[in-house]
Symmetry: C2
Subunit: 235 residues, 2 copies
């Protein structure tokens, strides 16, 4: 393998969206005096992200970015969880909770090691502005912010992975996709990229729900980003 | 002014292309035992960049990225400067001299200060892969690498400036274009962005050739990036 660039899935792979969203929604709900199962709220919100993107890849309607997809589901969830009549500026601020996600404990140190040897870029379905805000919040040291938004399709459409290699001016086999989700890596491999699976057993709370161990065999399998950096001979 | 993001011209504004190219071409020519005026070579190379982009904006032929535009002019210059019959891998390596440009002395410290308060992004005609390589070489701490390549037009086409504001999800008046070239800022202003002129009197060697003082009045005029950071109340 002659790898020049690593491109990363972000939600779940780099950042712990579920803990971060649950916490932020609880703060919001407490301010409004409402009790509820906020981890369930986070899970329901995440489901809207998945189904919203699938509709766009299926050709149902014009492009919507992930901020817009999150907002559409949030408007539904506020009703379901007894939070109606929230003023618009507060809803907009809550929707940006996805810009303020904490990294996994090894993310920043591991990325910094990987950056010393490789180009490191996002390759997320999140929109560019979301990813830029998140990187500032979580101090993620990306060389470059790449997104499905730039390709005009959502992962796991192969066009997204090919776009990343093309815009980095690299043959696809010199680009490695890093993700905690097998479906993402299977698609990246089909598009010609190298693949690294990183275990994130707590992404959905209960480890039984996680995509760990990987459903498939990839070029590398790592316990976390520092393990990945060591396997790739980074200092 | 309520500025959220600063977008930067790169060649001449952030990096000293002329000194860096002259030095690298001289090393290359010395290895081939050829004497010449390598600053003149650098200037002639730069001219090819400008004319190559103008042809594309005028609709003459398909998109060519800046690496390709540089290469087309380099192939001509090698003949003109008595460097024929250079092996292909050496030419390709020399063409990437534009990926290895030194920053002006204030660039890294000034950008780091500006980054503490604003999103900082490139907005260069250079292609994404060139800008990513240059950022690693020169340790430029961008939050995001934006390029004319993503807009499919070259500056000073207004579409490029509007694209930058759009992909950052900001109204154009919350984005400030920073450049050492009046033509770039005039176009950015016409597209609705805020503008900051930074003096780079030595860009072309002789200060009489530089675009300093600015040919126009912009929102801010700064001596260098640290002066700009101070004017924008960055620590």
């Amino acid at each position: 393998m002659q790898i020049k660039a690593l491109v990363f899935d972000v939600f779940g792979t780099v950042v712990d969206w579920r803990t971060s969203i649950t916490r932020q929604v609880k703060v919001f709900a407490d301010e409004h005096g409402v009790a509820g199962d906020w981890a369930a709220f986070a899970d329901r919100w995440r489901e809207g992200y998945t189904s919203g993107m699938a509709e766009i890849n299926a050709g149902k309607g014009a492009w919507k970015n992930v901020d817009d997809i999150h907002r559409a589901r949030l408007d539904i969830l506020l009703g379901e969880f007894d939070l109606p009549n929230v003023p618009e500026p507060e809803i907009a601020q809550l929707n940006r909770a996805w810009h303020r996600l904490d990294p996994w404990p090894d993310s920043v140190s591991g990325l910094s090691r990987l950056k010393s040897k490789f180009v490191i870029a996002t390759l997320s379905n999140g929109n560019v502005s979301l990813l830029v805000a998140m990187a500032k919040f979580a101090k993620l040291p990306w060389d470059c912010v790449l997104s499905s938004e730039l390709a005009g399709r959502y992962k796991p459409d192969h066009a997204v992975y090919r776009y990343a290699a093309s815009i980095l001016d690299l043959p696809s086999e010199q680009v490695m996709m890093v993700a905690a989700h097998s479906f993402d890596l299977v698609a990246a491999r089909e598009a010609g990229l190298r693949t690294a699976f990183v275990a994130r057993p707590n992404e959905y709370g209960d480890p039984a729900l996680a995509d760990t161990p990987a459903a498939g065999t990839f070029d590398l399998h790592a316990r976390n980003f520092n393990d990945l950096a060591s396997q790739l001979s980074c200092l």
